[in-house]
Symmetry: C2
Subunit: 289 residues, 2 copies
């Protein structure tokens, strides 16, 4: 009889719960959720989030072919240190963290017999917890990988098949340093913008005057504070650089508007709007302004 | 035989086309589109955007009970000046402009026999043109009115019925000055953010790393340059004030992140996230980060 092949998803929150549900039926793997709280286990069972669920990591980690760590960045680093000697020889450990340098450094504690590939599926919502998870979360999302030089081609190929199975649009392979530098702009800065907009003293006086652009821009402001405190702190130099650059670009618009030269403002807007059109991002086609 | 009651929608672009289509069947009114280009007229006829369409304003303006001006702000002001003596006595002239002070001032040219109520339905998309119009555009949008002191209760009541008919969530009545001050924050600033983010020198290097927050925040950057040049220019003092306030709030986050005090950053994020939750805007529930 063939040995059961196992993907252990550790942490069934918003991302882990969605990932486990999306992974179900992947090749001949059994998807086992590893959780800390009984109520999360109960929810996972009643909603069929995974094939099995356990509260005891020792029950599944020694058998798992893939261990997918779906906690906060610091939680991921701590977990690898704590269970470094428990992972199966030849196993692949991977994660979902929104920063990669600190996590890849943390993965240095793993024994040589355990492979590690950093992973960041660019998906999520502004909510948290398994009750907000859904299996289609990763559809059309980028699937970013930061392998180690020693990562095996078999494990990289496995992650590519997973990416396709859960519906991601493409696999982007990069270094942890480049990931963190770019993500400071494409993700972290968007969250800093959202909270900064909501810090405006007149926020609550503006009810009744907001349209789609306001809802979209501030959507992610109701963020998971513990998670984002870690993400921002662990990427502080890159993020502060990005905020500085945004402030410069905002100030240039401020000066163009205050200056009163309508043609100059029109030229500037033409330039920016063309950049956006050239970027041509896929996305919801028609949402309210 | 009873006289035909007419709502003339002048300008069948993204907003005018959507409005005309949404208005069809409203009480016993006939919706007549007034356009400048034959191809817009052809599109309106073939897609049944309105009940009738004409290229000649003189054919419909003298008979119209309501004239709804759906052009750029300067176009609205110019149109009122040009056709001031053509509007029917007792008619209501209204508009859809995203700024109200300049338009209300422009309405000063109308004879006393013509009523004017400023209107700004808080809806739209980042596209333009009748081919992107759709009748459900106004569903769940705020419907903002800036009546004149002399506006008749009958006309205000009519606008309220229209608002309900086209699916708006509520009617917000305010002064043009307050409208423009708040809209500088809730709408114009969101567009300045979007273009400023796209001005980042590394925009094109970031393909493959963007998620929902980036798509949402930059969605409106591909804007209608002529329209937004006018909107920004005609509201420059309020808008520059808002940009300054945002830069202050961004800088406070920048300092909190650069300072390295994780607890202080966490406290600050908690404060902002709670403001957002308290704001509790309706909107799409689950979109990708």
């Amino acid at each position: 009889m063939q040995r059961e092949k196992i993907i252990a998803v550790v942490g069934l929150g918003l991302i882990g719960g969605s990932l486990a549900a999306a992974l179900r039926g992947f090749e001949d793997y059994t998807v086992v959720g590893v959780v800390r709280r009984q109520e999360t286990a109960d929810y996972a069972v009643s909603h069929e989030v995974c094939d099995r669920v356990t509260l005891d990591p020792m029950e599944v980690l020694p058998e798992a072919d893939v261990v997918w760590l779906c906690m906060n960045p610091q939680g991921i680093v701590d977990y690898m240190a704590r269970y470094r000697d428990v992972f199966r020889a030849g196993a692949l450990v991977t994660d979902v963290g929104g920063i990669k340098t600190a996590i890849m450094e943390g993965a240095g504690v793993l024994p040589e017999t355990v492979d590690f590939i950093g992973c960041h599926p660019m998906a999520g919502t502004e909510f948290s917890g398994i009750e907000h998870s859904f299996p289609t979360m990763f559809q059309r999302a980028h699937f970013i990988l930061t392998p180690r030089p020693s990562s095996t081609p078999e494990h990289i190929a496995l992650m590519r098949r997973v990416s396709a199975y859960i519906g991601c649009s493409d696999v982007v392979t990069t270094t942890p340093e480049r990931h963190d530098a770019i993500i400071a702009y494409t993700s972290q800065l968007m969250h800093i913008i959202a909270v900064s907009v909501c810090d405006d003293e007149e926020l609550f006086q503006c009810r009744g005057f907001e349209g789609g652009s306001f809802r979209d821009c501030t959507r992610v402001a109701a963020l998971d504070v513990d998670l984002w405190t870690q993400l921002f702190s662990m990427n502080a130099p890159a993020l502060t650089r990005e905020i500085d650059r945004l402030v410069q670009n905002l100030s240039a618009y401020r000066d163009a508007i205050a200056g009163g030269d309508v043609q100059a403002l029109s030229d500037k807007l033409t330039w920016s709007a063309n950049r956006k059109r050239q970027m041509n991002l896929p996305g919801p086609g028609q949402i309210m302004l």
